[in-house]
Structure formats: C-alpha cells, structure tokens
C-alpha cells in the first residue's frame, strides 16, 4: 500500500516538475510571439523596424538559452536517476 502511494507521489512530483519546465518554455515562446508581433507592427507602421529587430536578435536567444539550460539540467538529472535506479535494481 505504502509503496504504491510512494510511487504515485513520485509520479505526481515528476509530473509537476515537467509542468514547471514546460511553463518556462511557454513563457519563452510567449515572449518570442510577443516580440515578433511588435516587429510585425513596426514593419507594418514603417516605424523604424531596424531597432526592434536588433533588440529581438539579442533578446530571443537569451531566453532560449536560459530555458535550454534548465531543460538540460532537468534532463541530465533524470537520465542519471534512471541509471541510478537501474543499477540499484541490478544490485
């Protein structure tokens, strides 16, 4: 009984972690959408689009990198954990 509970709890926590990671990606994608909308606006209104494109060239990669690092860490930890568990069961 208790083991099932534990398993369930682990699953819920893992799901929550997944959700949080995807939320971060959502944020990043949102920001990218927002910025491209603004670029579209500035092009449409002929309102010095160069500046907005320049800013976005810097901003977007930064957000993507940040999200990638988080994902990298998350994935890295969990791959290791699986291995760890596998070796545990092997023992």
């Amino acid at each position: 009984m208790k083991t099932i509970n534990n398993e369930l709890r682990d699953k819920i926590i893992f799901a929550a972690q997944l959700v949080s990671i995807s939320l971060i990606w959502l944020l990043v994608i949102g920001i990218i959408f927002w910025i491209s909308n603004l670029i579209y606006l500035s092009v449409d209104l002929k309102d010095s689009p160069g500046i907005s494109i320049g800013i976005s060239l810097v901003a977007i990669p930064v957000f993507i990198t940040l999200a990638s690092i988080l994902t990298y860490v998350f994935v890295g930890f969990h791959r290791e954990k699986k291995k760890h568990l596998n070796t545990d069961s092997g023992n």
Partner: protein, 227 residues
Amino acid sequence: MPKWAMAIDLDKCTGCGDCMAACKLENNVAIVDAEQAADDRVMLWMDMMTIYEGEYPNIKLKRIPKPCFHCDNPPCIKVCPVHATYKNEEGLVAQIYNRCIGCRYCMAACPYTAKVFNWYEPEWADEFKTCMNPDVSLRMKGVVEKCSFCAHRLQKVKENARADDREISDGEYSPACADSCPAEAIFFGDLENKESKVFKLSNSPRAFRELEDLGTIPKVFYLSEKE
C-alpha cells in the same frame, strides 16, 4: 501630401494671451483648481514663455507663445512604448488618448515641454459640460495630451473640400489660436504649397526655429527681427 506648419511673428505678438484662452476653449482642455495650479499642474496646450534680456533699465522682454512644435523628427514618438503618439502623413504629431498608458516618457523626452498630463480625472461643473466643443474628445485621467494643431478643424475642412471637389485653399484650415490672434501674429498653412503665406514666411530671413541644433526640425517657425 500637405505639411502643416505654423509661423509666429514675434515682432507682432504682444503676448496678450488670447491664443491660450482660445485654445483651452476650442479643445476642451481641462481647467485645474487652485490647489493643483499651485502644484504646477496647469494644462496649457498653448503656453507662453517669458524671457528677460539685458540689464536694467534697458530690458527687453520677450513673450513667446509655445504650442506643440509638431517636429518632423519628433523625439517624443521615438520613446513611446505603445504607439500612443505618432506622426501622421501630413506631419501632425498626434496623440491617441485611448491607448496611452501614462508613462510620461514622451513628456520627459520632449525638449520643448509641450506635453501635459492629466494628473486627475478632469472635472467640469455640470453647466460647463453643456458648452463643450463636440468636435474634440475629452481626455481621461492618466493620459498625456498636447496641442493637435486643431486637427479636428482639418477634418472638417477636408470634408468640405472633398464635397466641393477642390483643394484646400491657403488659410482655410487654421487652428483656434491662429484664427483668433488679435495681433495677426500667428500664420498657419501648408509648407508644401509654395504659394502659401507660411511657406514664404518660413523662408524669410527673420525666421528661426527653437533649439534647431537638436535636429528635431520643428514645424513652428518664429519670426523675429534680429537686432
């Protein structure tokens, strides 16, 4: 496309202040109470600058009416975060009151301090609400506003011209201040029209613009005999 501009003849201007009153009345500019006025929150689309020159008793006093200069290269629109102020194709720098978020960046960026802010919701006595100019929308608290060169008048003039199927003639469109000036010191017209009074005045040797070195290219010319 016409390019609307104003020329103010400082040699003729007496500084009577009529333009300020005409402007307030025409554009439904809010009138603040005494307390707000003491806090320097008076809203004037048309302001009056006072400059003393010389040593007593040989003083020269200059009074200079100051509307929005409707710069060709306006510093205010560059900093607006929401497209609430922009330059239209006829060169008028316009405000969109309903979009303004009230960050007042444009006010800080304007070298001519031409913009004013609604610190509170503008209020009028009920009686005064009856005689508002229906052509000009009222502003709400928390937005920036400024001289529009009475763009609502342009709208009307355009409609009339279109109805008669003709061009707008010189002097037909004229903001309230130019219209009412008792010294006939304010001229208004189209810079692209080489026949217009304003075009001629803008090329007069007496003409100058405020803070020309900033490169804002104001469309309000001042005329003054250099003594």
